[in-house]
């Protein structure tokens, strides 16, 4: 049985193709205005990689912010439940998930059966999310994927004091005007994000192995900053963006 999970996030859309509970293919594309077309395209791309087409898919489960806009989905489930389901299936030891996506950050605690026991997320602003990094990268005129490497070259510790994305941008512009090394600014940004996430993390009981997912998990600078605050190692799975889509697909399988 082939099932598909589509995670329509604010910055990227992810599709996971699952056969008998195994991930057989995935694809990631940039989200945009036409969410339905993008979702269809990303899913078809993932199917094409393994020689399948949409005709072969029995059930499609949508998740993420755009989930309610997908007319061809058979079911919609929130990304929190899907993320937990996907990670528990693939990494059964996980107890805590830190997921930093484009516009929100979630800390999820899993129960003994791998379902969500409790969770918390940012609800007032986008500071401490992927959007924060994206705005900063634009301001610094660097590619977002280069942020981690650049921050590792930082030699001086500086502070980004603002927790607001827009005000932080102003702060970055001032630092650039004062010729503060770009590497130091980026390292400070990573610490700033990590502090926001750490605040959420502290609001839950967090014993057990921690897994980090979402686009920001690809940034080793943020991961390091977060590990320094939490004082524990974070496990970063391969392709950290796709596990929510994978979890969504699992909900499409007949046997739960």
């Amino acid at each position: 049985m082939i099932v598909a999970g589509i995670d329509m996030g604010s910055l990227t859309t992810k599709a996971a193709i699952v056969e008998d509970f195994d991930l057989i293919s995935h694809s990631i594309g940039r989200s945009g205005v036409n969410v339905v077309e993008i979702a269809r395209h990303v899913m078809n791309e993932a199917l094409g990689k393994v020689g399948l087409s949409s005709q072969d898919v029995e059930r499609i489960v949508a998740t993420g912010y755009g989930r309610i806009s997908l007319p061809f989905a058979h079911r919609t489930i929130t990304e929190i439940t899907c993320n937990a389901r996907g990670l528990h299936q693939q990494f059964p030891d996980s107890k805590i998930i830190i997921d930093i996506g484009g516009q929100d950050t979630k800390v999820i605690r899993l129960g003994p059966d791998g379902t969500v026991e409790n969770f918390t997320m940012n609800d007032k602003c986008a500071a401490g999310t992927g959007r924060f990094l994206e705005v900063a990268a634009q301001t610094l005129e660097v590619d977002i994927d280069a942020l981690a490497e650049l921050s590792s070259q930082s030699r001086n510790t500086i502070e980004i004091s603002s927790t607001c994305t827009v005000f932080a941008q102003t702060e970055i512009v001032s630092m650039m005007a004062r010729q503060t090394p770009r590497e130091d600014i980026i390292a400070a940004l990573h610490v700033s994000i990590a502090r926001r996430v750490f605040g959420l993390f502290c609001s839950l009981r967090t014993e057990g192995p921690i897994v980090m997912t979402g686009g920001v998990a690809k940034n080793s600078g943020v991961v390091r900053a977060l590990e320094n605050l939490i004082k524990r190692r974070l496990f970063i799975p391969e392709n950290p963006q796709i596990w929510t889509a994978f979890g969504a697909a699992l909900f499409g399988e007949k046997k739960q």
Partner: protein, 385 residues
């Protein structure tokens, strides 16, 4: 049922605008009471109409010039309504000193817009004998001030009669709450709140007449055998009604509020003043024995403190266990000191008891509903598993 419910909804469309007309028609003085816990019965016994002043959902404009941005939104909103002439119909105002912020806001109201009658009541924070004695003195001071202002003595008989009127209204609201708990499809949670809010903003006798009709219509409706929704206990949001959009979203996503401790809900009508020959004491007892609240301290509620370990967290756990709710939604009004201070101990106790809960920060004007959709939906999924 729908026709009678519609009357309450209409009453809440512009409650304060309606009171302007009511006042002209009835030539009676109106006293505005800020939330919570003003003994309205005394004002009614003095021949005046007590009206609860609730903030509106509209953006705050003029008040921002006078108040700190960290002032809670109920106080910012009501003060803004005052400055924008929305409370022209009131002759006086009563401020219950339930938190630090209202003390300062009270002085501001009195300075900026002096009313013929202005009174601040200290409510006892300690729920013990000393606290009751203090509260009795405060209620007597309030009564004397009302007598001085109205030029009429407020007899014990008048207070007892007023208490009886209020108890009647509360009993009907409790009956409706019970019926709605058994049959959540009876009306939306927002409509139920409108029934309560209308009681706060009109003469109790008139409200009771309408309520009798509503309750008897509700009693005739048969509750369905099963409810295909996730029952919730809604907490927090003191001093003002939560946004309609938020309440509607909870229901749209498959939740149903079957119990609450909101001021514009169960908290307002949960406790009667029991008549025992001393009506002033009955009013004090109503507050002292009423449902626990973050503004009240019950000796024994802290760890290692002598007394009985009730207090707000204990009350909520007990309330939840008796309720059919599967989880708790805690609406935390931004900048509400008493609830902010209470939440950590409540959270600790809920986690100890393994009661599922979600806290949502809310505000009258600073709130964005859409980001909450995922959060609420995920919480309901957790409860459904």
């Amino acid at each position: 049922m729908e026709a009678i419910l519609e009357k309450f909804i209409v009453l809440c469309e512009d409650p304060y605008g309606r009171l302007n007309d009511w006042k002209i028609e009835n030539r009676k003085e109106v006293i505005g009471c800020l939330p919570m816990y003003v003994p309205e019965e005394l004002i009614a016994a003095a021949g005046m109409l007590p009206v609860i002043l609730l903030g509106s959902m509209k953006s705050v404009t003029k008040a921002n010039k006078h108040l700190l941005t960290m002032t809670c939104e109920e106080l910012r909103s009501t003060y803004d309504m005052l400055l924008n002439g929305r409370f022209e119909f009131i002759d006086g105002v009563v401020m219950p000193l339930i938190c630090d912020q209202i003390r300062f806001a009270g002085d501001l109201w009195d300075m900026d817009h002096p009313f013929p009658f202005f009174h601040q009541i200290w409510l006892s924070a300690r729920m013990d004998d000393l606290g009751k004695e203090f509260l009795m003195n405060e209620f007597h001071r309030f009564k004397e001030h009302l007598e001085e202002y109205s030029g009429r003595e407020i007899s014990s008989h008048a207070i007892e009669k007023s208490i009886h009127t209020y108890n009647q209204n509360r009993a009907l609201l409790r009956r409706l709450y019970e019926l709605k708990g058994a049959n959540p499809a009876l009306m939306t949670a927002d409509d139920f709140m409108k029934v309560v809010i209308s009681s706060m903003t009109m003469p109790k006798e008139t409200h009771t007449e309408l309520l009798v009709e509503l309750v008897s219509a509700a009693e005739e409706l048969k509750a369905p055998d099963t409810v295909d929704k996730t029952p919730l206990l809604l907490l927090g949001h003191p001093c003002a009604a939560p946004e309609k959009e938020l309440i509607d979203l909870i229901e749209e996503l498959g939740g149903v509020i079957i119990d609450d401790d909101l001021y514009t809900g169960y908290r307002y009508f949960s406790t009667d003043a029991e008549l025992n020959g001393n009506p002033m004491e009955s009013l004090a007892d109503r507050f002292m024995k009423g449902v626990p609240c973050p503004i009240k301290h019950h000796p024994g509620q802290f760890k290692n403190e002598p007394g009985s370990p009730m207090g707000y967290p204990g009350f909520i756990i007990d309330f939840f266990k008796k309720s059919k709710a599967r989880g708790i939604l805690f609406l935390q009004t931004m900048f509400c000191d008493p609830y902010d201070w209470e939440f950590p101990s409540l959270k600790e106790r809920l986690e100890e008891e393994r009661i599922p809960f979600q806290k949502i920060a809310t505000g009258l004007e600073s709130h964005s509903i859409e980001p909450l959709r995922t959060r609420l939906a995920a919480f309901l999924e957790v409860l459904e598993k």
